[in-house]
């Protein structure tokens, strides 16, 4: 990620980071919150906070890690804020509009993504974050470890536990499919 900061002005860095990571961050926030508008809002806040940091003259070594860490903190705050809302209300408010090449793929994607969202709801905060990073953001275990400041081993073990739990939820569904 060094290409984002070496010899570039802060606004150029932020523009490059936005172009590279806006979709991925949006995806991450969307799957964590199941709310398209809130996800957009959090993406915006993430970049604003990143700008605040850069505007102080500070440098960011790893933009992806910084953005995900910032987004994660915002997600935690957002979830605390809306803990009073029922899951049903949140689901009703979600506005699923995937971009996919044809309608069949759209339907399949919607079904699969909705299944993942349902499964994530069963997990605690830490496990949901790990599964999202691994399967929504498609990050390697080593990348997740760097991002969260843990060893690869710790991440692998936690992910393993989360998947084990998820498997018990997912398997009956797969049997029916």
């Amino acid at each position: 990620m060094s290409s984002f900061n070496e010899g570039h002005r802060p606004e150029t860095q932020l523009t490059a980071a936005f172009d590279s990571f806006a979709d991925a961050l949006f995806r991450h926030c969307y799957f964590r919150l199941n709310d398209r508008e809130a996800a957009k809002d959090l993406v915006q806040q993430t970049f604003m906070k990143t700008w605040d940091y850069l505007a102080q003259g500070k440098t960011i070594e790893n933009f992806r890690a910084f953005l995900y860490a910032t987004a994660h903190n915002l997600i935690i705050n957002e979830r605390k804020r809306r803990r009073a809302l029922s899951l049903e209300t949140v689901t009703e408010n979600s506005d699923w509009e995937p971009v996919a090449p044809d309608s069949t793929t759209v339907r399949e994607s919607q079904d699969a993504a909705q299944r993942l969202i349902e499964e994530l709801k069963r997990l605690n905060e830490e496990a949901a974050q790990l599964v999202t990073l691994r399967y929504v953001d498609d990050l390697a275990v080593a990348d997740i470890a760097r991002l969260l400041g843990e060893t690869e081993n710790t991440i692998a073990v936690r992910l393993h536990r989360a998947l084990k739990l998820l498997r018990t939820i997912a398997e009956p569904k797969q049997d029916h499919d």
């Binding site: 900061n5 010899g7 570039h8 002005r9 802060p10 606004e11 150029t12 932020l14 523009t15 936005f18 806006a22 979709d23 949006f26 995806r27 969307y30 799957f31 957009k40 993406v43 915006q44 970049f47 604003m48 700008w51 605040d52 850069l54 505007a55 102080q56 003259g57 440098t59 509009e97 995937p98 971009v99 996919a100 793929t105 759209v106 399949e108 994607s109 919607q110 079904d111 699969a112 993504a113 299944r115 993942l116 399967y135 929504v136 498609d138 998947l163 084990k164 998820l166 498997r167 997912a170 797969q174």
Partner: protein
């Protein structure tokens, strides 16, 4: 045990990848973000600037002592901080403005800013110096680049939004011609010697050339719009009338403020005359629009807008030529717009944040 590579997870990952922001959402986020960046400029020069200024030791220390980005906002060509103003602060705004209407509006605002700087150079200095000549050359080159950038963006949007393109072209033409007209007014009266200076002549020639080009291009756009069978020309005329009407109210307030702080009654009277002329043109435009004479109404609104805008430039030139204390540096990235109306009795041209309009996809 769940296999990390099994079909279930592959399918979910594939499905997740289909979740993304639409182009319109991305543009909207980017636009909001650019506004935020504009309102929260970097406190200090970083990276390239830091390295550049660091070569000069004490200069770097001095620059850092100042709130650089904010202080740079009031700088003029030739000033140490001018590079930060045009290469850092303004690029914050323009770099993130989506191509098309938003970027065109930013470039129009930057054109206005260069014109106001030109006026400030003219009124601030009594004689030309080699440094000033170099600064003016740089400024006029930048001015032409901004104008060119506006035209480029207009070309991009005119097929899809001809009325929008015409509106931007009109804003550009108004800002160019009004500043040119204000400079021409100096030919008369006690400030005539200012207009004979080579730097003033260079600025005027550039403005005249760019105005002529903008007018020609505007004519073509207008022809295309009027050839259309829809009501977009009528809507544009109505929109312009409303906008100019508001602007004239603000210009009148501006004159009232100026008259209470300045004893230059001749200048105030001249400004009032111009406003009356602009009002007359606007009344004519209203009658023409009501009678369905849309081409004439568009002509009259444009003439009225130019006259009204020239009043502000004229007051700036006349009343600011006498040295007055500089206001404190603004801490935001700000750019002047063609219709901004801050009090004129200061040595700095009025500034306000650029409002970037949403791109429609």
């Amino acid at each position: 045990m769940t296999d990390l590579n099994n079909d279930h997870w592959k399918e979910l990952t594939r499905a997740a990848q289909a979740v993304r922001l639409s182009a319109a959402e991305k543009d909207a986020l980017k636009q909001e973000l650019s506004g935020y960046l504009a309102a929260h400029p970097p406190r200090l020069p970083t990276f390239t600037f830091w390295k550049h200024f660091a070569q000069y030791g004490t200069v770097a220390a001095l620059v850092l002592t100042l709130s650089t980005a904010g202080a740079a906002e009031t700088s003029l060509p030739g000033d140490l901080l001018y590079g930060i103003k045009v290469n850092l602060n303004e690029k914050v705004v323009s770099a993130l403005a989506p191509a098309g209407k938003a970027r065109a509006n930013v470039e129009v605002a930057l054109t206005t800013r260069r014109l106001e700087e030109a006026e400030e150079i003219i009124t601030k200095n009594e004689v030309d110096s080699p440094e000033q000549e170099r600064s003016v050359t740089e400024l006029t080159e930048r001015l032409s680049r901004h104008v060119q950038a506006v035209q480029t963006e207009i070309d991009k949007i005119k097929d899809e939004d001809l009325a929008g393109a015409l509106k931007i072209g009109s804003d550009l033409e108004v800002t160019l011609s009004s500043h040119g007209e204000a400079l021409a007014l100096l030919d008369e009266g006690p400030d005539a010697e200012v207009t004979r200076r080579p730097t003033t002549a260079t600025i005027r020639q550039t403005i005249e050339r760019e105005t002529a080009t903008a007018e020609l291009r505007q004519e073509d756009l207008k022809k295309d719009l009027l050839a259309r069978a829809d009501a977009s020309a009528e809507e544009l005329a109505a929109e312009q009338i409303e906008e100019i009407s508001d602007h004239l109210t603000e210009v009148n307030k501006l004159i009232n403020t100026a008259s209470s702080t300045s004893d230059d009654s001749a200048t105030i009277a001249q400004a009032r005359e111009k406003v009356a002329a602009a009002q007359e043109l606007l009344d004519e435009a209203i009658s023409q629009a009501a009678a369905g004479q849309t081409p004439d109404a568009l002509e009259s609104t444009e003439a009225s807008a130019k006259t009204a805008a020239s009043v502000k430039s004229f007051l700036n030139l006349k009343l600011n030529s006498k040295p007055e204390p500089k206001p404190s540096a603004t801490s935001t990235v700000a750019t002047s717009t063609a219709t901004s109306t801050a009090p004129v009795a200061t040595s700095t041209p009025p500034l306000e944040l650029v409002e970037i309009e949403a791109e429609e996809n």
